[in-house]
């Protein structure tokens, strides 16, 4: 299955971007083929209100079944969960370790948004 991780770059040693709505990019990792591709999310960096919605649309259109990020706001959470996408929250770690945590079943599913929506 495909999972999307909010990231700053394509470097697996780089730390994950803790924010979902304002992430610069998403790394879409395929757990079967163990390959990854990078999708751009910068059109959302300047969107005031609705960044979470647009980022969610972006990853849903990429066909992911789960996302891993640091924090999810209420609108992103609503759109992702209503579309059947699972949401996992992780501490700030490098992407490589986060993929390992996910594969080993360490990450827990988030049952609600964990931050308020805001505009910055």
């Amino acid at each position: 299955m495909k999972i999307a991780i909010s990231v700053n770059s394509s470097d697996l040693e780089d730390k994950m971007d803790m924010r979902f709505g304002r992430a610069k990019k998403f790394m879409v990792y395929d757990t079967e083929s163990k390959t990854n591709e990078l999708i751009d999310n910068t059109q959302n960096l300047n969107a005031a209100q609705g960044a979470g919605i647009q980022s969610a649309q972006n990853v849903i259109n990429a066909g992911v079944e789960a996302i891993i990020t640091g924090h999810t706001g209420p609108k992103a959470y609503k759109l992702l969960s209503e579309s059947g996408v699972k949401i996992y929250h992780s501490e700030e770690k490098c992407v490589k370790d986060i993929i390992a945590d996910f594969t080993n079943g360490i990450l827990k599913e988030a049952d609600s948004a964990d931050v308020e929506g805001h505009w910055i």
């Binding site: 969107a47 209100q49 609705g50 919605i53 647009q54 969610a56 649309q57 849903i60 259109n61 609108k75 609503k78 759109l79 209503e82 579309s83 059947g84 929506g117």
Partner: protein, 283 residues
């Protein structure tokens, strides 16, 4: 006749002046409607001995989707200027928090599967205080928008004389509150902050082509910059109220200027006559 009381800066005494003018006009043997449109922090009821008549919920219209007929065409998301609709996996998802209730999504849906439902955003309370009838609006905490509630309160204008206690500032809540008034009073204080914010309010009122005058509160507490500005700009100063620790103490206990300083009653009565005269004049 509609008189709006506004200010650029908050805390200049707008509510105390509104209530005092209402009392002065009531003294002149006239029924007055006082509309408290400072819906984020309404205070007029704290300055009047009043009894509550009614309390009703206020709601705005937000879209509601019938999923069974949604084809995911995206026309609703495309027309929404406020990012309230997203379309994923061939269906629309609605985020009503910042909905402005324009009705566009419902109009544009080809399958007619968006209807409008009511969503409570505030409360309208009516009070009676002698000849003064107070209508207050209060916005629910966390709700975004004042203007729809303000517009609803302003429907209560079936009365000879209506005084509107406006929100401070010069952005859309204040503009909504003052629009269509016959005369606007700007309450200010003679300080740098007071003058600066007043000039912003003056710019707004001029843009809206409104008839207005100024009341200087705590007129001896600062310097003469406000009076100089009014003279230069040909703005009428309707009334000056001197600073008074007694008035401040009385206000803290919910006593408006009109009752706190007996010597000021006459000033308010003559100011209200001037204001009503101006409100009746065409520009």
């Amino acid at each position: 006749m509609i008189i709006a009381v506004a200010s650029g800066k908050g805390g200049t005494g707008k509510t105390s002046v509104s209530v005092s003018l209402a009392k002065a006009i009531a003294e002149l043997d006239s029924k007055v409607k006082l509309l408290d449109c400072d819906v984020e922090e309404p205070n007029a009821n704290l300055l009047l001995e009043c009894s509550r008549i009614s309390e009703t919920d206020f709601s705005v219209k937000i879209p509601s989707l019938d999923i069974s007929c949604c084809t995911g065409c995206g026309k609703c998301a495309a027309i929404c200027e406020f990012n309230c609709i997203a379309v994923v996996k061939e269906r629309a998802v609605i985020f009503p928090d910042l909905c402005h209730s324009c009705g566009g999504c419902s109009l544009v849906c080809p399958e007619k599967c968006i209807s409008e439902i009511e969503s409570k955003t505030g409360v309208i309370t009516k009070y009676s205080s002698g000849k003064i009838h107070l209508v207050q609006g209060i916005l629910d905490i966390g709700k975004a928008m004042s203007p729809p509630l303000i517009r609803e309160i302003k429907k209560n204008t079936e009365s000879e004389i209506v005084i509107i206690d406006c929100p401070p500032g010069t952005s859309c809540p204040m503009v909504t509150a003052v629009s269509n008034a016959d005369y606007v009073i700007l309450v200010t204080e003679p300080t740098p902050f007071g003058l600066h914010d007043m000039t912003l309010a003056v710019d707004t009122l001029r843009k809206m082509k409104m008839n207005f005058g100024v009341v200087i509160n705590r007129s001896d507490s600062g310097d003469d910059r406000v009076e100089n500005y009014c003279r230069k700009e040909n703005i009428e100063v309707i009334m000056k109220i001197r600073e008074s620790i007694d008035a401040a103490r009385a206000y803290s206990k919910g006593i408006p200027l009109y009752d706190a300083l007996p010597e000021i009653k006459q000033d308010f009565i003559s100011a209200s006559k001037t204001i009503m005269k101006r409100a009746g004049e065409k520009i």
